[in-house]
């Protein structure tokens, strides 16, 4: 049995049947990391000894194993806190920060029997769409080492695509799970805002951030989400379950049952194709692949409906205003006092803050802090920040109207397949514009899923995005599962990345505008 060919659920079943030991599975994944990660740079920290120790402990309890993911090795994006394991956010400013607690998501997966292999590379503070802004050097796309894996969860997508673990958890603020999943040929889902606790997720834009899985297929995503989702009193935006003790107003969520609900039966499901998402700026091969996916869903009994979505051009500017505003506030805590790295030379407290932040943050993070400070500053607040919050309401209402006409939307994930390394760094606005299909989902707090639906002429994966109404994860996953019962795009694997490939050139020491750091 070639373990790395299995899905997480298949591996979990093999472990429970006693055909594979958990140690064997963990060792297989660690061997894959040793062989390939010199070229891919998907991991910032590999916790091999910890993983094997954990695997042995879990193996001892395998007879009483609870849950379908028991013993399955996985990895964690490095902006999610892990007790006793360095958590860097791919930034110099966090230095050797080792959290004294686990994130709620890490706790939840530990209860489900996860074996963590380590921490995954990403864009610094999850700010980027290519995983090139990491202080630890760019991640490379396993399908083509000259290309970016997408971002910001690029390490997560590359690791799952290359068989370095059976699933990963990432975070998605404006597409950071879905877009790298698309570029690396894996399946990823950002759940409804408030359904996975953000406790222990290092904040970028708190009103948009959400944790979710990147997996081999939709069934694995359902299993991981069943473990991740639920109410957590440590996150004030976490939504209560049907029986939670809860004094607040707002919706209650019937958590769980996603895996059990996968039937692949989508007869009668209405799937909307927003015409505005298939217009100018969309690569022809991506368009054909996504429209072909629509036909596959139709073949399974879904009904396709074309509909307008005229608010699309407003999503990217509203998103960047809100995300940068929240970032400028959230990142004010990184000042060289309470945790992380401190500049070596400074003159007084104010200078300590300033030198630490100037030298500790990379160019893209500083750009977003300045932009966020601008849109919040006196005199510009109403014209930019308040306006963006109004546009957010307009976009939410537009989705409400759309979901009166259909059950799900099908769109591209990104306008193109994976870009070449370096292409986006020189033009930040162009990189922001490439988020056009994903950011509106975060603004409206909706669930969105990315699934592989083809390979382009260069042999690069193309993804299709499914968007659902709030708490529509079940329908999203079922549609993706139906698609994956008919197609094998999700089973395509990149060629093994050569260990002796030239290691990625580090971006370490990049200044505010790409100049040298003093």
């Amino acid at each position: 049995m070639e373990l790395r060919e299995l899905t997480a659920l298949e591996l979990g079943a093999a472990i429970r049947r006693g055909e594979v030991s958990i140690v064997e599975a963990a060792q297989t994944a660690l061997d894959a990391v040793s062989a390939q990660d010199g070229a891919l740079n998907a991991f910032i920290t590999v916790t091999g000894a910890r993983a094997l120790e954990r695997a042995e402990a879990l193996q001892a309890g395998v007879r009483d194993a609870q849950g379908p993911l028991y013993g399955v090795p996985m990895a964690i994006k490095d902006n999610i806190c892990t007790k006793g394991v360095k958590t860097t956010c791919a930034s110099r400013i966090l230095g050797d920060f080792t959290p004294p607690y686990d994130a709620a998501a890490v706790d939840a997966l530990a209860r489900a029997g996860a074996v963590s292999l380590g921490k995954l590379n990403m864009d610094e503070f999850a700010m980027g769409s290519t995983s090139e802004t990491s202080f630890y050097g760019p991640v490379r796309n396993p399908w083509d080492l000259g290309r970016a894996p997408g971002g910001s969860s690029g390490g997560a997508a590359a690791a799952v695509a290359a068989g370095m673990g059976w699933y990963a958890i990432g975070s998605d603020t404006g597409g950071s799970i879905r877009q790298p999943a698309s570029f690396c040929g894996v399946t990823g889902i950002k759940p409804t805002y408030g359904t996975v606790s953000r406790y222990g997720l290092i904040a970028y834009a708190s009103s948009l951030d959400q944790i979710g899985p990147l997996c081999r297929d939709a069934a694995d995503c359902a299993a991981v989400l069943d473990a991740l989702m639920g109410h957590d009193r440590r996150d004030a935006t976490s939504l209560p379950g049907p029986r939670s003790r809860w004094d607040g107003s707002g919706p209650r969520v019937d958590y769980g049952h996603l895996l059990d609900g996968l039937t692949g039966d989508i007869r009668g499901m209405k799937i909307g194709l927003p015409v505005d998402c298939f217009g100018d700026g969309l690569d022809g091969e991506v368009r054909s692949a996504v429209l072909a996916a629509a036909e596959v869903l139709k073949g399974r009994g879904a009904q396709l409906v074309e509909l307008p979505f005229p608010v699309l051009p407003y999503a990217v500017p509203a998103y960047y205003i809100i995300a940068c505003a929240e970032a400028s506030s959230n990142l004010s805590r990184f000042d060289g006092v309470k945790y992380g790295w401190r500049a070596e030379e400074y003159d007084g407290l104010g200078d300590l803050y300033c030198k630490t932040r100037t030298q500790g943050f990379g160019a893209e993070v500083k750009r977003r802090i300045l932009l966020g400070t601008f849109v919040l500053s006196s005199g510009y607040y109403d014209a930019y920040y308040k306006k963006a919050l109004q546009v957010k309401a307009v976009i939410r209402d537009a989705f409400d109207r759309v979901f009166e006409q259909c059950d799900l939307l099908l769109t591209p994930v990104a306008p193109t397949a994976a870009p070449r390394l370096g292409e986006s760094l020189s033009d930040p606005l162009q990189m922001y514009l490439s988020d056009v299909y994903t950011v509106s989902v975060n603004l409206a707090g909706l669930p969105g899923l990315s699934m592989p639906c083809g390979l382009n002429g260069d042999g690069l994966p193309v993804g299709a995005q499914l968007i659902g109404p709030h708490f529509g994860e079940g329908a999203l996953l079922n549609a993706a599962h139906a698609f994956q019962l008919e197609t094998d795009w999700h089973r395509k694997r990149p060629p093994p990345a050569a260990a002796d490939a030239e290691p990625p050139s580090a971006l370490k020491g990049e200044g505010l505008c790409g100049g040298d750091l003093k």
């Binding site: 960047y320 400028s328 803050y353 505008c513």
Partner: protein, 95 residues
């Protein structure tokens, strides 16, 4: 909206960041392009729209005022670049 080098310096000061001499011009031009693009929003009439910060009408999230164990002080201080046994250390702020 015109982004000037002076505005960049003002924002950097508010953000506790230094913009190096050689970077100021490039940063001004980049922010100018990005802000000009954001002006697209002005094409949308939002005079009657209430701004929304949270997509769900969640409010008054209260809980019992219970005493529960918090983090260990020594563990928290261990993450600081300059701790002593009971505090984070910073340069003297009052003469």
């Amino acid at each position: 909206m015109k982004i000037t080098a002076e505005l960049i310096d003002y924002l950097a000061g508010l953000s506790r960041l230094e913009v190096q001499e050689g970077e100021r011009q490039a940063m001004t031009a980049e922010l100018q392009r990005i802000v000009a693009y954001m002006d697209v929003l002005n094409r949308l009439d939002t005079t009657q729209v209430e701004p929304v910060s949270h997509v769900f009408p969640v409010k008054n999230v209260l809980r019992e005022d219970e005493v529960i164990p918090s983090q260990d002080r020594a563990e928290l201080l261990a993450g600081s670049p300059a701790p002593d046994q009971e505090a984070f250390l910073v340069p003297k702020t009052v003469e």
